[in-house]
Each structure stands twice: as structure tokens, then as C-alpha cells.
Amino acid sequence: MMDLGPHAAFIWMSYGVVIGGLAALVLWLIHDGRKQQAVLDDFEARGITRRSAQSGGTE
């Protein structure tokens, strides 16, 4: 590995924090997306589709 000088620890730590933080965000977004999709599919299965909802709602 290339020598990052005396403060290599700080460099790795800051890259670690950024990559860690963004990875956590990405994982959460993917998880949340799957969870909502699952609930929606469950509604679909039970025949309650948006077409039947005549209310204006947020569409």
C-alpha cells in the first residue's frame, strides 16, 4: 500500500466515515424501497388497487 505519511490514520478514517455513511444511506434506501414494495404487492394481492380508490389522494 502506498505510504500515506504520519497521519495516514486520519486519511483512512475520514474516507472510512464517508464511505461508511454513504453505504449506510444506500442500504437503508434499498431496504426501505423493498419494504414499501412488499406492502404494495400485498395490497395488490388482496385486490385493493389504486383504481378502486376514487378519492383524489396524492395521485
Partner: protein, 214 residues
Amino acid sequence: MRLFSENLTCVRGGREIFSGLSLDVQGGECLLLLGPNGAGKTSLLRMLAGYLKPASGTIRLEDGGEETGEDITVGEACHFVGHLNGVKSQFTVRENLAFWACFLSGEKNGESDAAVIEKALGAFALSSLCDIPAGYLSAGQKRRLCLARLLVAARPLWLLDEPTVSLDKKSQVLLANAVNAHVAGGGMAVAATHLELGIENAQTLELGGRGGRQ
């Protein structure tokens, strides 16, 4: 003076309360809104008063019949009595009414106000309680103080939401007299109520029939 609105639709919290509703109240008429809970009576009244924007449809208050084109916004021309009384418990009955007289009518609270306040107190049998802090009043008396506000500032349209809440028989008669006097004087009133208010020649509008919300 004429309150006119056509195919009003009200949507609250992603749910449609009522749609395609029209009403037309002329000067000197009283409209009673009947219907079960959740039928949208309160929503309609709040919409007429200007709190709620209708999802579709228009509300207009035409002044004096001839097309003046410029309609006064409903808010400035109406009294709205909701479920809450709008009574400050630290102030005495008279101070409460004095504030509303000055605030709602907008001009200096001069001599004329004192007379108006006395008349309003008399109309709702509050004269004996006028110097007692409102905090001591019973629920019925507070409701009467709230209704007395209708008389301290001249406004053509009265929007009353369950005005008879916590009123005893005698007070309901006082309310009916006040509304009759107001309507006889050319004013308009729209009231949502369950009890028979004893108001002569009142039209009724059934809400909650459509949409199957029981």
C-alpha cells in the same frame, strides 16, 4: 345579500368528505345542515368561512343582489361559531365581549359599543354575570357568552356549528330568538345541528347521503 356556491368538493387527509354540493342562501333565510357525524357538516361550514379551500367549486357572497362584481370575501362578512368558545377565562364577561366588539367591528370602541354589549348580554341572560371572570362560568354560560359575540359586531352571515352544545332548554330558546331576529333583519344563517332549533321557515340540506359514509 346572497351566499352562493356550486359543486363544492372537500378532500381532507386524502379522503373525500363530500362532492358536487351546491347551496344558495338568500338574505332573510336560514339553512339547517342535517346529517350524521362525519358527514362533512363542520367541513362545509369551515369551507364557507374560508378556513378550508375547496378541492373544486366556488363560494361567492354577492352583495345587495345587483352584480357588484367585487364580492366581499366570506371571512369578513361572517361570524363563525365552532366547537370552541373563544372565551378567555382571565377576563370578565364584559371584557371578553368588549374585545370582540372592538376587534370584529374594526372601529374605535366608543360609546356605541357599550350599548351594543349591554344588549348582547341581555339577549343571552348574562347581564348578572358581566363582571365575573369567565373562568368561573359553567359550560352553558360560556357557550352563551360565545354566542353573545354574534350580537356585538354586525355581520350578515352567521355560520353556526352545533351552537346548542351544552345549552339548556331556556338558552336554546334565547338562541332561536337571536337567530330569528337576525334572519328577520335580512341576515343569513347556516347552522349544523341535531336538535330542532325552532327557527321558522328554515330550509334544510341533508349531508352524508352520498358516498355512503355512515
